[in-house]
């Protein structure tokens, strides 16, 4: 084996030192390589698992395509469109009508237009009720049906402090209309 001239010129102490430095550099370089390699393997394994999960999800979506097509059509057919600001008033009228039917007393009604989200725009009516429990159940049942797109955004129910046979309710009831044209894709 050819020994370089510069190595030959070194004394033993210098040679030992040079070997120590070379060995340390070699170890560090290899640590870097191994660290990078295992890091890359770990990340790649995660990426692979994520891709497999996405593919499985896609396969499931393809299988359920018919169901979601029907659901999409149903939403398009049934979700009401917001025609004018009087919709909030109409909602309150509807609530009053149902409450009257079941002898539920409505107090402090407030109406307004609510948030606009990517999938809906809302109008709401806030009311307080006082009734016994059975009429309140009927009221809740009649107000909310899937094709009415009515949501109880807040509900507070408690026994009336002055009369334990009565229930006190505070509701913010909203109707979720179809989003404005172009907001939903």
């Amino acid at each position: 084996m050819m020994i370089p001239a510069w190595y030959k010129r070194m004394n033993p102490r210098e040679r030992v030192l040079s070997w120590i430095i070379a060995g340390t550099l070699f170890v560090f370089l290899n640590l870097l390589i191994v660290s990078w390699l295992f890091g890359a393997l770990g990340r790649t394994r995660q990426d692979l698992a994520a891709r497999k999960a996405t593919l499985t999800e896609q396969e499931l979506y393809v299988k359920e395509r018919d169901l979601w097509t029907k659901r999409g059509q149903w939403i398009q057919q049934h979700q009401p469109n917001l025609k004018n600001p009087a919709e909030a008033s109409a909602l309150l009228d509807q609530l009053k009508q149902v409450a009257g039917k079941h002898n539920v007393l409505i107090e402090n009604p407030v109406i307004g237009s609510g948030e606009t989200a990517p999938y809906h725009q809302t109008v709401f009516a806030s009311i307080e009720t006082k009734s016994t429990w059975p009429p309140l159940v009927h009221f809740l049942y009649d107000v909310q049906q899937p094709d009415a797109f009515v949501v109880f955004e807040t509900v507070n129910l408690a026994i009336d402090g002055s009369d334990p046979t009565m229930m006190r309710g505070k509701f913010k009831i909203a109707r979720w209309f179809a989003p404005a044209q172009g907001a939903k894709q």
Partner: protein, 264 residues
Amino acid sequence: MPQGNAVLIYPEGETLVYAVTENGKLSLARAFESTNGQQLQLELPQLRLSAELQGINASSPNVLLDETCYQMRDTVQGILASPTQIVGVELPPASVKLNLLPESWRRRRAQSIRQAEWRKRLVWLGGAYAGLLFLLLVYLSFMRLEIGRLDRRIAHDAPETEFVRATEANWKALAPAIDSHYYPVEILLHLFESLPSSDVRITAYNQSARQISVDGEANRAALAYEFIEKVKKNLELRSFQFEMAAPRILPNDHAQFRLEGRAR
């Protein structure tokens, strides 16, 4: 060694060896203490006779005499009545204890051998390490290729599933309006179904579109825990994930509890 039968006569140390071979295999060997021709003249006929008695053909056409015994050639030819060839017998060198190699040279040679062995081990170790790194790189490349293949499949199927994703997102967003599992009346019904006994009472109920909290009181803390377990097991309430903090024990030993449910 000649083919067929042969007789070899050669000196070995202070003795003279007489050997008969058949097709290269030794049949008979005898050592004479004296190496002079007179002794040979006396003993060789007797030896030949005893060989014949043992069934060994001693009248060989090949008689090989060592070159150091050249002076006995005529005697041997006369006794064996065969032409005698002169041959040289090589002997291995005798082992001697004397070693003229300097000690420093011997140490240097041992050191060189050790270094060569270590170099060999290091080369093997380095090779194994490099091989391992190479295998890991191959594995990494294989996984990258697999990711690329999956990406192409995902991209290929994406337009087909895009509509389904969008509809699912829309459906989930509208769930409080169209899914009866989010309706207060339905939730209240299933909460009442989950009450373990009349000793557990719901005192307040709060709900937002995607969150529920239920305040109640039970005659014993164990009943409150029984209630939360039943709520968690109720399949109709599976749209929500319920949790309950430790109930507060009242002076009358009743337990006041609060259940909180979040939409999944």
